[in-house]
C-alpha cells in the first residue's frame, strides 16, 4: 500500500493544480439590477408591506453584500412618467446608479427616492440595460425585478433578451416576479430561458433579498469567458480553433464546421452543448463529427425529449506519437448539427446558443491489455494453471526416467 501512495503522489505531481494561476486576471464582472417602479408596485401584498417597500429593503441588504470586485449599476423602469401616453410611458427607463465601483451610501440614497409611478416598459429597459453593460469582455448579468408583464407591445421583451444574449458572449438575465399572474410568469420565464438565466417567484421579503444576493454573487464566480467564433458551412473556410472554450449560434437544421490542428501524439477532445433558448418541439438531438478528408474519424451524438436547457455530446480521437523529430500534423474538421425544431410562430434568428470546447492533450492513450497488467482471475484460470503444472511435472518425471534408463543401458 506504500507503493500505492507513492503512485498517487507521482500522479498528482504530474497534473499541477495551480496551472491556471499564470493566466491574466479576468475583467471584473458587471451586474445591473433593473427594478420595476410602475404604479402596481404600490400593491401591499409582500408580508403586509407594499412591493416597493419590500424591494427597497431588499436592495439595501443586497447593496451591503455586493462582492468587492463586482461593478454594479441600478436601472429603473416606469419610475418617472405618471401620465396616460403610451409613447411617453414606454420611454420611461432611467439609470439610477451607473455601472461601476459601488458607493453603498450613494446607491442606497438613490434607491430611497423611488416611488411607484408609471408604466412597465420591460423591453426598452432591458435594451438600455444591455447598453449600460456594453463594452469589455466581462461576465454580464441583469437582474430584473418586476411585478407585471410588459405594457409596451409590440416590442416583445423576450425577443429583446434573445438579441442581447446573441450580441455579447456572456450575458445572463435573471428574473424575479413579485406577483403570480400567468402572463407575467410566461414573459419572465421566456426572458430567463432566452439568456440561460433563472426565474423566481417572490412572495416574501427575505426571498427577494436572498435570491438577489445569490444572483449577484453568482456573477462574481470566476469562470472562463468563452471566445465568440463563427462556424461556416464548409470545412475549407471554417475557423481554425486552438484549445479552449468558444460560443457560437446555430440555427435550426444548420450545419456548422470548425477546424482544429492536431499533431502526432495528441488527442483531440471536443464537446459541444446546443442550448434550447426558446420554445422548441418535444424531441431534439445533436451530432458532432470529426472528419479528415473524406473519412469520418469519430462522432458523438445524443438525443432527448422534454424540458431541457441544452443537449450536449462530445468526442475524442488520438493519434499515436510518430517518434520523428518534427511530428506530423493534420487539420481535423468538426461538423456540428442539431435536430431541434420549433413551432411555426417561433423566430429562428438569432440561432440557438452553442458552446464548444476544444481540448488537446499530449501523449496518446495506451490500450496495453484489456486485463489489468495482463493478470488473470477466477477458478478456471487456477484449474488451468494447476493442470498445466501437473502435466509439466509428469512429463519432466517421465523424461528423467527415460534419460536414466537410456544412460543405464549405455
Amino acid at each position: 500500500m506504500g507503493l500505492c501512495a507513492l503512485f498517487a503522489v507521482l500522479a498528482t505531481g504530474l497534473f499541477p493544480a495551480g496551472a491556471v494561476a499564470d493566466e491574466p486576471q479576468p475583467e471584473s464582472p458587471k451586474v445591473e439590477l433593473v427594478l420595476d417602479a410602475s404604479g402596481s408596485m404600490s400593491t401591499r401584498d409582500i408580508d403586509g408591506q407594499s412591493r416597493m417597500t419590500a424591494a427597497k429593503q431588499a436592495f439595501n441588504e443586497v447593496l451591503d453584500s455586493v462582492p468587492a470586485d463586482v461593478r454594479l449599476g441600478i436601472r429603473t423602469l416606469g419610475a418617472n412618467y405618471p401620465g396616460k401616453s403610451k409613447v411617453e410611458g414606454c420611454k420611461d427607463t432611467e439609470q439610477l446608479y451607473p455601472v461601476g465601483q459601488l458607493d453603498r451610501t450613494e446607491a442606497k440614497t438613490a434607491v430611497a427616492t423611488l416611488a411607484p409611478t408609471g408604466w412597465t416598459p420591460i423591453g426598452p429597459a432591458l435594451r438600455a440595460a444591455g447598453k449600460d453593460l456594453a463594452g469589455g469582455n466581462a461576465t454580464r448579468r441583469i437582474v430584473l425585478i418586476t411585478d407585471g408583464e410588459d405594457t409596451c407591445a409590440p416590442l416583445d421583451p423576450c425577443v429583446v433578451a434573445r438579441e442581447l444574449a446573441a450580441e455579447g458572449t456572456n450575458l445572463v438575465i435573471d428574473t424575479l416576479g413579485l406577483a403570480s399572474t400567468d402572463k407575467m410568469r410566461k414573459q419572465l420565464t421566456c426572458i430567463a430561458e432566452a439568456t440561460g438565466g433563472t426565474y423566481t417567484t417572490v412572495s416574501h421579503k427575505e426571498e427577494l433579498a436572498d435570491r438577489t444576493k445569490q444572483l449577484v454573487h453568482r456573477a462574481a464566480d470566476n469562470t472562463v469567458t468563452p471566445t465568440a467564433t463563427e462556424g461556416t458551412s464548409t470545412c475549407s473556410t471554417a475557423p481554425l480553433l486552438g484549445a479552449g472554450v468558444y460560443t457560437d449560434r446555430e440555427t435550426f437544421a444548420e450545419h456548422r464546421w470548425y477546424r482544429v490542428n492536431v499533431a502526432d501524439g495528441q488527442e483531440l477532445r471536443a464537446s459541444v452543448s446546443v442550448g434550447a433558448d426558446r420554445a422548441v418541439n418535444n424531441d431534439y438531438g445533436v451530432l458532432l463529427r470529426a472528419v479528415t478528408g473524406d473519412r469520418e474519424l469519430v462522432r458523438g451524438s445524443d438525443a432527448g425529449s422534454g424540458r431541457t436547457d441544452d443537449i450536449s455530446t462530445g468526442l475524442r480521437y488520438a493519434w499515436p506519437a510518430s517518434g520523428a523529430d518534427t511530428p506530423a500534423s493534420r487539420t481535423v474538421c468538426l461538423e456540428l448539427s442539431n435536430s431541434f425544431s420549433a413551432p411555426a410562430f417561433v423566430k429562428t434568428t438569432p440561432g440557438l446558443p452553442v458552446e464548444l470546447t476544444v481540448g488537446l492533450v499530449s501523449s496518446p492513450d495506451n490500450a496495453s491489455d484489456v486485463a489489468s497488467f495482463g493478470l488473470g482471475r477466477g477458478w478456471i484460470m487456477l484449474a488451468v494453471l494447476t493442470l498445466t503444472g501437473l502435466l509439466a511435472g509428469l512429463l519432466w518425471g517421465w523424461l528423467t526416467r527415460w534419460r536414466v534408463a537410456v544412460w543405464r543401458t549405455n
Binding site: A17, R185, S203, D309, V358, N366
Partner: protein, 281 residues
C-alpha cells in the same frame, strides 16, 4: 511417505492462499470515499456545464434554487470505481403547489456525453402532497481506457444536472432546497482492467483562441495543449487507479498451484520407480 506428507502440507498452504483471495476482494470493495475536512462543502450550484460547482467524493453539497432552474455540479471519479449520485430535493410548501412534479437527475462525463444510470431511480414524480423527492443514479464501472468510439465511463469529471422535467406551469419559480452527494465504491478485481488514458477527461478551463486560418498546421503542439483545471481536485488516491487489484493474488496463487502440481506430477513418476526398486530389492 515423507514426500506425500510434504505435498499435502503444501496443498493446504495453497488452499489457504486461495481462501484469502475472496477475502481480499471483500476488503478492496469497502467504500473508498472519505469526506475531506479541509474544503467546506459547496452551498451553491452552477447553472450550466461551464459554471458547474466542483464537489469532492463524499461531500454533501447543498443549494437553494427556484423550481425550474437547471443545477449543475461536477465530481471526480477514476478507474475501477462505481460512482453513485444521490440528490434530495426539498419541495416548496404543498399549499403553494398545483400538482405533481417530475424531477430528474442526469449524469454526463467530462466530454459532456450523457451517461447511463446502471441502477437507481434518476427520475421520480413527486405528488402534490410530497415534502421531498430523492433521486439516485449509479454509473457503470469507470474503465481506465476505452476505444474512442465507445461511450464507456472514463476517469475524469462527471457532471450532474438536476432539474424538474415536468410540472404545472404555475409552480415554476418556487423556492426549493437541494442536497447532493456523490460517492464511489471500488468495483473490485473482477472489473480491474488495463490501459491508460492520456489524461483524465476534465473540463477545458481556458478561453478559446482562434488561430490564423492561413497558418500551416503547427508542429509545436505544446502551445495549444490544454492544462488540467484547478477547480476539480483529483479523487482520493489520484487519477491513476494504482497498480493493486486482487488479480495479483489470483495469479500468484495460480503460479503456486501450478508449481505444486508440477512437483506433485514429478514425484508421482519418481514414486512409481522407488516402489519398483523396492519390489526388485
Amino acid at each position: 511417505m515423507r514426500t506425500t506428507r510434504l505435498t499435502a502440507a503444501a496443498l493446504a498452504a495453497a488452499a489457504a492462499v486461495l481462501g484469502s483471495a475472496p477475502m481480499a476482494a471483500a476488503d478492496t470493495a469497502s467504500p473508498s470515499p472519505s469526506p475531506s475536512g479541509s474544503v467546506a462543502a459547496p452551498t451553491e450550484a452552477g447553472t450550466s456545464f461551464r459554471t458547474a460547482t466542483a464537489l469532492q467524493q463524499g461531500q454533501t453539497a447543498t443549494a437553494t434554487a427556484s423550481t425550474g432552474d437547471y443545477l449543475y455540479w461536477m465530481f471526480p471519479a477514476t478507474a475501477g470505481q462505481n460512482a453513485t449520485v444521490e440528490a434530495t430535493v426539498t419541495l416548496p410548501d404543498s399549499s403553494a403547489r398545483h400538482g405533481s412534479a417530475t424531477w430528474r437527475l442526469d449524469v454526463y462525463d467530462g466530454l459532456r456525453r450523457h451517461q447511463a444510470c446502471a441502477a437507481g431511480h434518476p427520475s421520480r414524480t413527486a405528488t402534490a402532497a410530497a415534502a421531498d423527492v430523492s433521486l439516485r443514479c449509479t454509473l457503470r464501472t469507470v474503465r481506465p481506457w476505452s476505444e474512442a468510439w465507445a461511450n464507456d465511463p472514463l476517469p475524469g469529471a462527471y457532471y450532474v444536472r438536476l432539474t424538474v422535467a415536468d410540472l404545472p406551469d404555475q409552480d415554476l419559480g418556487l423556492a426549493v432546497k437541494t442536497e447532493i452527494l456523490a460517492t464511489a465504491k471500488d468495483a473490485g478485481g473482477a472489473k480491474a482492467a488495463g490501459g491508460e488514458l492520456a489524461a483524465p477527461l476534465t473540463p477545458v478551463e481556458q478561453a478559446g483562441a482562434t488561430l490564423d486560418p492561413s497558418a500551416e498546421p503547427s508542429a509545436s503542439p505544446s502551445e495549444t495543449v490544454s492544462e488540467a483545471p484547478a477547480s476539480l481536485a483529483a479523487p482520493d488516491g489520484g487519477w491513476s487507479p494504482g497498480w493493486w487489484s486482487d488479480r495479483w493474488i489470483w495469479t500468484a496463487a495460480g503460479g503456486v498451484l501450478g508449481a505444486l502440481a508440477g512437483v506433485g506430477g514429478y514425484t508421482l513418476t519418481r514414486g512409481d520407480r522407488s516402489r519398483r526398486r523396492r519390489l526388485q530389492g
